[in-house]
């Protein structure tokens, strides 16, 4: 039997102007246009969005869980990237 399963799409919704699109879940659709319509019906039934992105799940590249350590560790020891690293006398205003 031919697999007539539609491809999977990830859905991102901008809740309102001024905010980023945020991932809300996934759905199945035959193509992008249908994915947008389904996303509207599924994820914005109560005015939860003003804009939707859909992207095919198989097109998403992801950092892998296994080398999470190696991938994110380099930023761990760079404390000087944070403002709290620097001691400024309390008497200095607005800094």
């Amino acid at each position: 039997m031919i697999n007539h399963e539609w491809p999977l799409f990830e859905v991102f919704v901008r809740a309102k102007r001024g905010l980023n699109h945020v991932h809300v879940g996934s759905l199945r659709a035959a193509d992008h246009e249908m994915a947008l319509h389904h996303a509207r019906d599924l994820y914005t039934r109560r005015n939860e969005g003003v804009s939707i992105w859909v992207v095919r799940s198989d097109q998403v590249a992801s950092s892998s869980a296994e080398d999470k350590q190696a991938f994110f560790e380099p930023s761990g020891d760079k404390v000087y990237r944070h403002p709290t690293y620097y001691t400024i006398p309390g008497s200095v205003p607005h800094i």
Partner: protein, 304 residues
């Protein structure tokens, strides 16, 4: 301690790409799939009343409610797919009887009062079950639950309001409400599952923080919430043993018919065959649409 155990111990969420015990993955897929199937099958008992709703207002409300249940099913299939499950395969498992759904949806909806009682009691029980699941250890499941819980409150309130309207009507309408309450009360208590001492998988689910409260705890919570609501409505809950226990500060209540629950779960409820047949028919009837849409999409965008 493995990363997984640490994540659980720190009360953090397990996410799809993480390493996790095979048994956890399997349990999660099974629980999410059963939950998804329940939402989808759950459209049927109330869906039958959409064309017979007594007013346009009630029809629009019921339509929106049933559409929400479809949405809940899809949020959950989406969560199951993050664990490598395949939506089409899960649907086949449901249709072939290899995966279960909530016992409650195997009871018939005999009058329009059933729509109200389902909203009040069945969605009410679902809320009791689902609110703690918003903190379930598997991230995509917990997030789906948050969305679902936000929508369930509308379901319960529209049901209760419907019943209040009927209780303000004729004696015949009040009788319809009482009759529906009599039929749905015990099956609603069964929605929390078997009693704790007969629920072997619960301990593991609690240890993995998939579940946060035992079946009996949640059932008690539901009874305590429902009694004053029944009083306000002016209906009697069909349990002669129901009484406030000042020592426990909870209501005492009778024992559900656990044999009935076993029968309904194992496929022998009043509507099991009908529900599955309907789901199978919808799947068969939709097959040509899925194929046509796919063929059309393939024609428009040549595969890379």
């Amino acid at each position: 301690m493995s990363t997984f155990e640490e994540t659980i111990a720190r009360d953090q969420r397990v996410e799809p790409g993480d390493e996790m015990p095979e048994a956890y993955r399997k349990t999660m897929i099974r629980q999410i799939a059963q939950h998804a199937h329940s939402e989808i099958i759950g459209m049927q008992p109330e869906g039958e009343w959409i064309t017979r709703a007594p007013s346009l207002r009630r029809k629009a409300i019921l339509l929106a409610k049933v559409q929400d249940e479809a949405g809940h099913g899809l949020y959950l299939y989406s969560a199951a797919e993050t664990l490598g499950a395949d939506r089409g395969d899960l649907t086949r498992r449901l249709i072939e009887g290899r995966q279960k759904y909530s016992s409650i949806f195997n009871y018939p909806t005999l009058s329009f009062a059933d729509v109200g009682v389902i909203g009040w009691l069945v969605d009410g029980a679902a809320i009791c079950n689902q609110v703690p699941l918003c903190r379930s250890s598997f991230g995509p499941y917990a997030r789906a639950m948050i969305r679902i819980c936000k929508e369930e409150s509308f379901h319960q309130r529209q049901g209760y309001e419907l019943l209040m309207t009927m209780m303000g009507g004729t004696p015949a309408q009040r009788d319809m409400v009482q009759d529906a309450v009599n039929r749905w009360w015990w099956p609603s208590l069964m929605m929390f599952g078997p009693p704790d001492d007969a629920s072997p998988n619960s301990a593991q689910s609690m240890a993995w923080k998939i579940k946060r409260h035992s079946n009996d705890e949640l059932r008690q919570r539901f009874v305590d919430m429902s009694v004053p609501q029944a009083e306000a409505l002016g209906v009697t809950l069909p349990d002669p043993e129901l009484a406030w226990n000042a020592g426990r500060e909870h209501y005492d209540f009778g024992t559900p018919d656990w044999d009935e629950l076993k029968r309904v779960i194992s496929g022998d409820g009043p509507c099991n065959a009908e529900r599955i047949a309907r789901r199978r028919q919808a799947d068969d009837d939709g097959a040509w649409v899925r194929e046509a849409a796919q063929a059309f999409a393939a024609k428009r965008v040549p595969a890379p």
